[in-house]
């Protein structure tokens, strides 16, 4: 939408010019259609489907509902290929969030969602409302949110805006999550130049629900009442979904700031408590959060799911400001609002509960039989649209795909270009200091990660672990994606994201049971971007099928580019795992001096796409590590077996920075005392690949000496590659390869570098 139309919208005087009953609807010109982000073909299709010209309000509805953000028109054909079923799945994609059975009448509800564009324009509110939105998706299902996580991507440190965005986003997540009393228990943060002009903020929430109290978002039962709950509707966020989220950034981006919503976590907290109280009542029929496209999408989608219709009177909607017109009321993305459907005769009980929590609420309409949404304002009908064309009428686009040419330039590297080292001290220090590997303590200390007393494993380990109160169970969660791998090979990169998230969850003692994804890509109108998308979804689907993990929810974020520069493909996944016995929760830190250190899996001569190449040679090139899925599965199963049998004291996944970084991290993990380690390696590999290569399917474990034989026998029987590589203890981190010392550093020195690097960067003033 260009500036003139936005100005027109936002310049409507608040109080002087009260809404006129007969305000004429402006003529729908090709310019107005274009400003609404609709193509000529799409507008023709609208005319065909409804048999007349829509008025401006109706055009606005089509604009948001047919936007990429709401309709998934570019991505839907591919998403159908993801595996969504499994014995534990109670609800797959299509509802507000996915639901997985964890036994004993309980289930976990979870989803991850992007809030990328708003966070780049206004980092604090963008990130905060991202957290608020994902939480509402979870508690609309009837679940109490018990954990938040996030996956954040920022530009390179040298980019002047990065520090501002980092502070703003972390502050937004912190202020919103902390206030609602839902702990933010972990996540991941990466920095890369590809995000300079388009950061990523993906927020994850998990809730707990009784399996017989799961609520769905349907407006069933003709005559049932439509109940509006939560904040008053204001003029914020209008066209957030259609114009902000569904186009790339350019010079006019700043003008879109009014499309960013403003969050109020206090209202969200009240909303959580009030909704959970309402869910106890058997006269609540359905509920939906007013997220993207606000009242419009919630009413149309609820009617669509229940195959009914909805009548609403907008004059009854609680408004924040005077003079709002139907167009604005329907498209507002004001936060902290929900739409309930309740059985008639219970309105007073519902309003009493909401009044107790001090929330605005009003009956604004009812469920009707006819499959349409009819909307009235000041006694006049302003919208009368059939459900199907609005919700399902957008044509799936078969966008062309083409393998990008850059791949030919970047995937072929020769190791001879990169001289191997005889001492690895400098590289190790540089890697520990680089922000993708360094401790994220500066960030997670700003998040309340303990409230509700369920956090068994604090942030900083492979996975976050939360107990399920009144049971012996626990839930492990890991968010993961290495987008450099995805840039170099989207298929393998996405498969690795699944494998690594599962591995992280396994290292904490859990069995992976479900996955949610957030697919962040560039402009889908470019064939090269669509090719990346197609490859990544296929890689993710194949890996999920192989590891038998259902995808139960997700979100697609396209148009992540600025002035033609797309981000690396970033198909982020969050894997949820179940631990049946809290005694079997495992952490990554070494526990005792004298313990043996071993590696499950084997190392190959690979350096492509590594953090080592990036940090030491500033190259994001080569083929990403090879993922042998069968081998990966064996490694994970073996690790879980060791944990179940109580044979090991620590388990840590080898990922960015390779073996040396993994062992160093185990030496100074949060919550464990700092211990040194000595690695004694025999190898024919180059030193750099041995220490810092990122071969997949490797886990570093430690255990008491007396367990050696039993573990070795188990490894033989499995069979899985297993080698003793060193011992815990001493005040240094020492590595010898084939008898020659390659690294020797005081462990406290390394710890200090790793622990303070990100905080030092964030604390600098420029």
């Amino acid at each position: 939408m260009d500036k003139s139309f936005l100005n027109l919208l936002f310049q409507i005087p608040d109080t002087v010019d009260k809404p006129k009953k007969n305000r004429p609807s402006p003529e729908i010109t090709p310019e107005i259609v274009k400003e609404h982000g609709l193509t000529v073909e799409e507008f023709r299709r609208i005319l065909d489907l409804i048999g007349r010209t829509p008025n401006l309000t109706e055009l606005g509805i089509f604009s948001v509902m047919w936007s990429e953000h709401c309709s998934y028109k570019s991505s839907r054909p591919y998403l159908k290929k993801l595996p969504v079923e499994g014995p534990r799945v109670l609800q797959g994609p299509g509802e507000n969030a996915g639901v997985i059975d964890i036994g004993d009448g309980q289930a976990v509800v979870f989803k991850i969602e992007s809030h990328n564009h708003p966070s780049f324009i206004e980092p604090r509110q963008g990130a905060a409302t991202g957290v608020g939105g994902i939480m509402r998706d979870v508690f609309t299902m009837g679940a109490r949110p018990i954990a938040l996580m996030n996956s954040l991507r920022f530009g390179e440190l040298e980019e002047p805006r990065t520090r501002f965005l980092l502070h703003g986003v972390v502050d937004g997540i912190s202020s919103y999550g902390n206030c609602t009393g839902v702990p933010t228990v972990g996540g991941e943060i990466y920095f890369d130049a590809c995000y300079n002009g388009n950061i990523l903020v993906n927020a994850f929430c998990l809730g707990l629900v009784k399996t017989d109290r799961i609520f769905l978002a349907g407006a069933g039962g003709v005559g049932n009442q439509i109940l509006y709950v939560g904040s008053k509707t204001g003029r914020d966020g209008i066209h957030g979904a259609s114009l902000l989220a569904s186009s790339e950034f350019d010079e006019t981006t700043e003008d879109k700031r009014p499309t960013v919503q403003v969050g109020d976590p206090f209202t969200e907290k009240l909303l959580i408590e009030a909704c959970l109280e309402l869910f106890e009542c058997d006269w609540v029929v359905g509920v939906q959060d007013m997220g993207a496209a606000g009242l419009t999408s919630s009413s149309f989608e609820m009617a669509h799911r229940a195959e009914t219709g909805v009548f609403m009177d907008l004059s009854k909607v609680p408004l924040r400001e005077e003079g709002m017109i139907p167009y604005e009321i329907l498209l507002s993305e004001s936060q902290e609002r929900m739409l309930f459907v309740v059985k008639p005769g219970h309105e007073k009980e519902a309003l009493a509960i909401l009044d107790k929590w001090g929330l605005d609420a009003a009956i604004i309409g009812e469920v009707i039989e006819e499959s349409c949404v009819r909307i009235q304002f000041d006694g006049q009908e302003v919208v009368n649209l059939p459900i199907f064309p609005v919700v399902d009428g957008a044509l799936d686009l078969k966008r062309p795909t083409k393998r990008p040419e850059y791949l030919d330039e970047v995937v072929h590297i020769s190791l001879t270009e990169f001289p191997d080292f005889t001492r690895g001290d400098r590289a190790l220090k540089k890697l520990l200091a680089c922000p993708n590997i360094a401790s994220k303590e500066w960030v997670y200390e700003q998040y309340d990660h303990m409230v509700r007393l369920n956090t068994l494993v604090l942030p900083g380990s492979d996975a976050a672990v939360l107990r399920i109160k009144d049971t012996n169970k626990a839930i492990a969660i890991s968010v993961d994606c290495n987008s450099r791998y995805c840039y170099l090979d989207p298929y393998e990169g996405a498969a690795i994201a699944v494998a690594e998230a599962c591995r992280n969850v396994v290292c904490s003692g859990a069995e992976p049971i479900g996955l949610t994804n957030c697919l962040n890509f560039g402009n889908p109108e470019k064939p090269e971007i669509m090719w990346q998308f197609q490859q990544a979804v296929e890689g993710m689907g194949d890996a999920c099928r192989f590891f038998d993990i259902p995808v139960v929810s997700g979100n697609v974020s396209l148009y992540n580019e600025t002035k033609g520069d797309a981000i690396y493909p970033t198909p982020t996944v969050a894997v949820v795992g179940l631990i049946e016995n809290q005694e079997q929760v495992m952490t990554q830190g070494f526990k005792k001096s004298g313990d043996q250190i071993a590696l499950i899996g084997f190392t190959m001569e690979e350096l492509g796409g590594t953090e080592y190449l990036k940090v030491m040679f500033d190259r994001s090139e080569g083929k990403p590590p090879v993922l042998d899925r069968k081998h990966e599965k064996q490694v994970q199963d073996f690790c879980r077996e060791l944990i179940k049998k109580g044979l090991i004291s620590s388990a840590h996944d080898c990922s960015e920075g390779g073996l040396a970084v993994a062992v160093a991290e185990s030496c100074f993990s949060p919550g464990c005392q700092t211990l040194g380690a000595t690695l004694t390696l025999e190898s024919t590999l180059r030193n750099d690949t041995l220490l810092f290569g990122e071969t997949q399917s490797r886990i570093v474990v430690s255990f008491p000496e007396e367990c050696i034989n039993e573990i070795k026998d188990l490894a033989m029987a499995f069979p899985v590659d297993f080698s003793l590589i060193g011992k815990v203890g001493g005040s240094h981190f020492t590595v010898t390869v084939n008898g020659k010392e390659v690294v020797k550093q005081d462990i406290e020195v390394l710890k200090e570098i790793w622990k303070t690097s990100l905080g030092n960067y964030a604390g600098q003033t420029t």
Binding site: N178, Q446, D448, V451, L453
Partner: protein, 229 residues
């Protein structure tokens, strides 16, 4: 011990306090809703839990102090009833003038959630009596406005009256600028009133009182109160 836990709109450690008192320490525990005055005569302890009452709007605790339940709590406290304010509860007690001083933004201007060490300054109060020989407790903090401030004269008075119950310290019990996480004057982490029946502290003892989680030092405070009743 009969305990009451106040629920303000925006309280979010209420369930945690309830869990510890009721399920871990097996005490009779009741909810107290902020909108109503309550007869607290039969109660041994009232807890004002942490959180963001009224969204911390205006100032943390500034609106909550006008909730009807606060009239009952002020009467209860003046009558010698034991009141424990944790984090936001501490902020409300200060706003209600049941405790001296004020809490301002952390020196870092950031929210801080982490384990810290606190030194027990006065082991002879209903809140600290069970500490035995133990003088340094490991308790998590989680706040944005937890930097305690009071003028030097009043601080001196607090010291003379032994009203300072906890100071931030290192693991050995040494109090220094490095071990002060939020810039509190005198490293004060918790104070009591002159009568020693009302206490407020920024650290969260309920977060380290369940055997399933790391750390149990918070139990000392609750057990001191139980042994007293």
């Amino acid at each position: 011990m009969k305990c009451g836990i106040v629920v303000f709109p925006g309280s979010n450690c209420d369930h945690d306090c309830y869990h510890i008192l009721k399920h871990i320490l097996n005490q009779e525990t009741h909810w107290l809703w902020h909108k109503e005055e309550a007869n607290l005569e039969s109660f041994d302890l009232v807890v004002l839990p942490g959180g963001f009452s009224y969204g911390d709007y205006l100032r943390p605790g500034a609106i909550a102090r006008f909730s009807p339940i606060m009239n009952s709590i002020v009467r209860f406290a003046k009558g010698g009833g034991k009141v424990l304010g944790i984090c936001n509860g501490f902020q409300i007690l200060l706003e209600s003038d049941l405790l001296p001083g004020t809490l301002i933004q952390n020196q870092s201007r950031k929210f801080i959630c982490k384990n810290v060490s606190v030194r027990i300054e006065n082991p002879d109060t209903p809140f600290t009596r069970q500490c035995g020989e133990k003088r340094v407790l490991e308790i998590p903090i989680a706040h944005h406005q937890g930097s305690y401030y009071i003028d030097p004269f009043s601080l001196n008075q607090l010291e003379e009256n032994e009203q300072i119950l906890f100071r931030y310290c290192d693991t050995e019990g040494n109090v220094s600028a490095e071990s002060n996480p939020n810039g509190s004057v005198g490293s004060v982490a918790g104070v009591t009133n002159e009568q020693k029946n009302v206490m407020g502290l920024m650290p969260h003892p309920e977060r380290c009182a369940d055997p399933a989680l790391a750390g149990m030092d918070g139990q000392i405070i609750f057990k001191s109160l139980i042994s007293n009743s």
